[in-house]
Structures are given as C-alpha cells and as structure tokens.
C-alpha cells in the first residue's frame, strides 16, 4: 500500500523534482491515513446502521414497527436524525466532576474499541496491520475499553455513575478469563495466533470452519459468544448501565457527542467480537462454498498461479481478480459479523437483565469450568487422545479424520537440539548475534553441521 502511494506520488509530483522512493515516509503516512479512515468508517457507519437496526429489531420483538418516517419507508435515516440531535445538545459537565478525566473518558473508551480493528483482517491479507499475534492483541485491547467506563464512572462525581463503573470493572475483569480460554481453542487447532493464518486455514467448503472441526470447538463457540456479550457489556449483562436501577449507569452525567462516543464504542466492540468470532470459528472471509477458489481465471486477465480468482497463500503482487475475490471476502466477513451483532440484539430484547451475583455465577461457575473442559477436550482431539494410546499411527490424520494442521516446530527440532552433539551453525563466536536461524520461517531442521571447532 505504501509503495503504491509512493508510485502515485512520484507520478503526480515527479515534475517538481521530488523523488519518492519505495520506502519514503510520505507513502507510509498516506497509507496509514487511508487505513485509519476506512476503519473509522467501519466503526462510525457501522454504529449508524446497527443503531437503526437495533431500533427496528427492538420494535419487531416488542410487536411494534420501530422508526418508520425519517428518510423514507423504513426510517433508515433515524440514526442520522439522532446524530443531529446529539450534536445540537449542550455538553454539560457536572459541578463535582473531575473535569479532565470526565472529558477524556469517552475518547479512551472509543479509542480502545477502535484499536482492536487494527489487527482484525477483513479479507485475505486485508488487515490494517497484520500482527503476528493478532488474537492476543485483540484480547489485550478488548480489556482496555473498561478504562473509559471506569474513568467515566469515577469522574462524573455521581453515585449512579460510580456504581455503574464498579460493576463494569468487576464484570469485565472476570469475563476476561473464560474468553481467553475460549479463544485459545482455535489457536490450538490451527497452531497460529495470526488471524490471517487462522482464517486461511478454514478455506474451502463450510465443513472446514472451525466450529465444525470437532464437538468441542462447536460447544466452546457458545461459551465464547456468551462471554463476548458480557465483555462488551450488552444485555443481559448490561449492569453498568442498568436503566431501571442506576438511571443510566456510568454515562448518567453525559450528554451530546460525548455520550454518543460511548455508544459508538459499544457498537464498535460488538462488531469487533463478532468479527473475531467469524474469523476464529466461521471461516472468516471464506464463504460456505469456495466460489473464488473455483472460478477459473478469465483469459486476458490475470489469474493466480493455480488459475483461480482467489489469492494463494504467499502471494503478494496485486491482481484484479484477486482483488475482486478479496472484496467478496470482505462482504462475507461483514455479513457474518453482522449476523453476530443481530443475534446480540435479539438476545438483548429477549432476555431480562441478570443480577450482579448471577452475572458472577454465570462466569465463574459455568463459563470458566465449561471453557476449561472444552479446552481439554479440544486438546484431546488435537492430540488424538485416548485413541493414540493403543493405535499409534503416522500422525498425518487423527481418528476424527482431520489432517493435523502442523507439527509444532519444537517437536521437530527437539531431537536435533538436544540429542546430537554440538551440531554447530556457522557462527563460532557470536553470542550477541540476532537470535534467528531458519526456525521462524518453518524450515526447522536446516542446521548445517558446518564448522565444528569447539569454543574456548
């Protein structure tokens, strides 16, 4: 992307004498700007649509119509009208508030929810930043959203807000445990924390999706979804803003645009956890039928090395057909995530709110043990236990008929590293050498026993 922008800049501004090499910073900054613009729009426009959807769904579930007038037949401009109203509202700060923290809290909340999108891939290779440990990064960032809420609760100088903030803190901290256990399972099955790798491992028919991998991944998805609803603070776990008890909880004292930032953060995280679920369990950008992997390349246009539309693994150059396939992938992912968000709304308007002790019971007595049991079960499936006890096979396929994703590098490396006598790589006196032989690239046994001079 940065290179592309540098080429464009060269083409546009070449006549002024400015030279933009491939690594020039201008291209990087432009690329970053484009990424940020696109992602902000995912959150903002997403919130716009989802808030309208929430009203419609709430209406239908409560046997009424929901918004019908603004913007035509379905009231689809209702959120925009709301936005105009919010902008026009006065931005009030209470007398007892901690002014600085009160003003900053909504931005903290929004920024935390938005940062998670940086690592979420929307199609093969289409992530703002392809983080090697994307799953871990997103989980880490998801836990930060609670800061904005706690700060808002504290800084408002109101007891309602403080109660809401405290409830949210207790809830989110507890639910991080089962959600972490759930997310580990797809990582375990695929053998990578890179979301692009996890998504690409599920390419093909929908039977390749991890939710259908074995019974335990199927069951653990539901635990994940429950915990995800709790961790993004949605009903029936919306104790932090329980209207019937705490007026509006942590955002009681907020109005205008600051108030709406909390809601953008909430809808942003809803979409984020649903997108994460889509990548981890539902094949990500891969449709139920691999259309783009089957469509033959058009003569005259470019095709991938295997002659299909979709990008192959390790392919880096830009192709029009691959681009189209990726656009299809983005639609897949957004559709799946939107379905997740819709289910969350459905649950919100169906179930009554839990008490705080019930929330804690759900987490500690049900979600954590269930997640732990399913984790051990998935581990057994991965290791082919207990069937491997009496029929040790070649480890190419397990009893469930799945091909093992990859044999871990340590299993391959261990005999080489420990067993043989000092099979040295070439460097005799290089303790401060940068750490990596070929291991990180997945060619583990490339240890050439070259110079065997012993060290002093």
């Amino acid at each position: 992307m940065a290179q592309f922008f540098n080429h464009v800049l060269n083409w546009l501004l070449g006549w002024t004498g400015l030279a933009f090499t491939d690594g020039s910073w201008s291209g990087y900054i432009l690329a970053a700007g484009v990424h940020i613009f696109l992602l902000i729009n995912v959150v903002a426009v997403g919130a716009l649509i989802f808030i309208w959807m929430e009203r419609k769904i709430a209406g239908r579930i409560q046997d009424r119509l929901g918004p019908t007038r603004v913007g035509g037949k379905f009231g689809w401009l209702q959120t925009l009208a709301d936005g105009v109203k919010l902008v026009a509202k006065e931005d009030v700060t209470p007398k007892d508030a901690d002014r600085l923290l009160f003003k900053l809290a909504p931005y903290v909340s929004f920024a935390a929810s938005f940062t998670g999108y940086m690592a979420l891939p929307f199609a093969f290779g289409w992530a703002a930043q392809e983080v090697n440990v994307a799953v871990f990064f997103i989980v880490a960032v998801l836990g930060l959203e609670v800061f904005g809420v706690i700060l808002a609760g504290y800084a408002s100088g109101s007891k309602w807000s403080l109660f809401g903030g405290m409830r949210e803190a207790a809830q989110v901290v507890s639910y991080e445990v089962p959600i972490g256990l759930c997310i580990v399972v797809p990582v375990l099955v695929v053998g990578s924390m890179n979301l692009v790798t996890i998504g690409e491992a599920q390419a093909g028919l929908f039977t390749n999706w991890l939710i259908l991998h074995d019974p335990f991944t199927f069951l653990i998805f539901w635990v994940y979804f429950t915990c995800a609803i709790a961790s993004v603070n949605r009903a029936p776990f919306d104790l932090a803003e329980a209207e019937s008890e705490l007026v509006a909880g942590f955002h009681t004292e907020y109005s205008g645009l600051r108030w709406s930032f909390f809601f953008m953060a909430e809808y942003g995280s809803m979409f984020l956890v649903s997108g994460l679920a889509a990548v981890l369990f539902f094949g990500g950008w891969n449709g139920p039928i691999p259309i783009f992997h089957m469509l033959p390349a058009v003569p005259g246009l470019d095709g991938s090395p295997s002659g299909h539309w979709a990008y192959e693994q390790d392919e880096t150059s830009w192709r029009i057909l691959g681009f189209l396939a990726n656009v299809g992938g983005v639609h897949n992912l957004i559709f799946k995530a939107a379905v997740g968000v819709t289910v969350m709304m459905w649950i919100r308007w169906t179930l009554p709110r839990l008490r705080i002790d019930q929330v804690m019971t759900t987490c500690l007595k049900y979600c954590v043990p269930l997640a732990a049991i399913f984790f051990i079960g998935a581990l057994c499936v991965k290791m082919d236990f207990p069937f491997n006890l009496w029929s040790p096979h070649d480890h190419a396929k397990d009893t469930w008929g799945h091909t093992f994703a990859e044999v871990r590098e340590s299993w391959v490396l261990a005999p080489n590293a420990v067993g043989e006598a000092p099979a040295a790589k070439t460097a005799p006196a290089a303790p401060a050498k940068p750490a990596h032989p070929a291991t990180a690239k997945g060619e583990p046994v490339a240890l050439t026993p070259a110079s065997k001079e012993p060290q002093p």
Binding site: D98, V173, L389, S410
Partner: protein
Amino acid sequence: MILADINVHSCLFLLFALLACGLAIAVAATSNVVRMAFYLTLCLGATSGLFFLAGSEFVGSMQLMIYVGGTLVLLIFGVMLTAQSRFISMQTHAGEWVLGLMVGASLLALLVVASRGVEDWQQKRTDAASIPLLDAHDSTALGLGFSGLRVDQLDQQDPVLRAGMSGYLLPFVIVSMHLLVVLIGASYMARTKRMSTSRLPDRPIAAPRTDRRRNVFVAGLLVIGMVINLVAAIKMFAIIPLRPMIAENKFGEAVTKLWHLVPPLDTAPQWAFIFLGLLFLANVLLLVVVWNWQKWGAIGLVIVPLIQAWVMSQGGFRTEDIVGNLAIGLLPVILIIVLLCTGKRPMWSQME
C-alpha cells in the same frame, strides 16, 4: 531534500519515548490518585507502543495485557475502594520528596551505567538497512524457549552449557504453579464463610437425618460391593507388573489357575487396565455415596459398568467377557435398587 531525509522510525520512536517520559513525570507530579492511575495507563501504553515500533508485537501485546490491562484495573479498584479524602489529593512532604528523588536518581544512574556498558550501543550501526526486522515479528523463538528449547542457542558448542540451554520450562511451570496457588488461596480467603451461608433462608433444608433406617440386606450388599470392587481395582492395577511373572508361572500352579479364572488378560493393552482400575475405584466411591444417602450414587453405579463395557470393547476383549462383566456389574446394582425401592418405608424416599 529534507522530505526524503526524515526517518519516520526515529520520529515515531521520539514521539512515543517523549509520551512515555512525559506521562511518567505527570504520574509523579499529580497529587490525585485516580489521575495518577490514568497517566500511568497512558505511560505504559506508550511503552507498549515502543515495543510495537521495535517490531516485537508479542511483547507489546503482553505489555498491554498485563501492565495496562491487568495491573491498572486492579489499581483503579484499589483506588476506588480506598477513595477517602486523604487519598484523593495526597500531600507530599519535603522529606518524601528527598527520599523519592534519591531512590529515583539511583535507579536512573543504574540504568544509565548499565546501558553504557553494552558495547553494541556505543557506536552507530552502519548496517541498519540490513537488520532483519521482520524476524522479530515472530514470537516462535520466545514460545519455544518457554516450552523447553532455546532456538537462539542452537550453536552453543560447550556440551556443559548446552545442557543448560534447555529453555525456561521449569521456571515457567514454577511461576504458573505459584500463581495457581495464589489464586486458590485468594479465593479461599475471600469465600463466604459456611456459618453465614447456612443461615440464608433459601438454602435447601436437608431431611432430618435421625429417623433414617438402613435396610440390612442393602447394607450388606453395599459393603460386599465395596470390598469386591476394591479387590478388582487392585487387581487391575497389579496386572501390568504381574502379568509377565504369571506367564512364567512364578507363584505356583494354584495362583496361575486362579489368575486365569478371569480370562483373556494376556492380550489386552495396558491402558485398558488403568481405565478399568479407575472405574472400579469409582464404583467403590459410588457405593460409599449410596451408603451416605445420596441418590446420584445409584445412578452412577448403573453408568460405570456401561463405561467399563465400552472400554473393554475398545481394548479388544472377547464379547462374552464384556457381556459377562456387564452382567456381573449390573445385576447386583439392579438388586440394590430394587431393594432400595421396596419395603414398608422405601429407602429411596429417604435419600437426597
């Protein structure tokens, strides 16, 4: 051309470093505890930004997860629970300033001396362009180090040192065990005491234990069952070491004959015996449970023989053995249940 000369990487490093330092100073300069926590969050976040900038995404995420997420949530918890007026705005005395400056300055001096001691950092690198930054994006080496293999030390020549290069598995396990113990201890300390829970009105009240009558036949059956199951479990566990000796007829003809009363123990795999032994032990436990007036014990007694049959079928036992075992396991249980449910005052109705 100045546009081309700017090194974005250095600029961003400066930005994040300044943010981290400035916010650290803000932490020290603020008197409000909650604001301190807030600045500390941002400071640690900026530090994780430095890690991301250096390309080590795993460590950066770790910093976000552990320091920014965990520690500060706990800190804010603490602050809120102790938010009394003297903590909201802390007055620092001159003596505290002096002490703090001394500690801070000595730590800073230590860091400076340590960083000056690294030879590689003394002069500017000339091969900056050829440093393989991409490798650092991968946390594989770190993970392998924790699972017992130092991939960065594969070229260690000294065999004595080589044995020590086996990674951080032991420290890792010790630390995680330690954390587990701390967690269990914390939940033990924080749990509701039994005394107070028993006073809660909605607790299910157990049936009075005084006028329960145990049927003599049932009691006898339960005791016999416990003994038989215990013997069976011990035998199952003893089979693996004893099998070769029996095959050699070491203990005399009588024992060998007795041994072969329960057939085909010579062929089945070892794991099956471990499972069967555990299941027999489970049977003993379930009988004790029934003895203690719990209904679920009886249900478990029915399920265990079925599991045993499944294990035996997987282990390659003959069909007649499986059926026989199933019958031997199930018939007494059914007898017990029938006895439990009959009589003038059935025991079943007295059980919980």
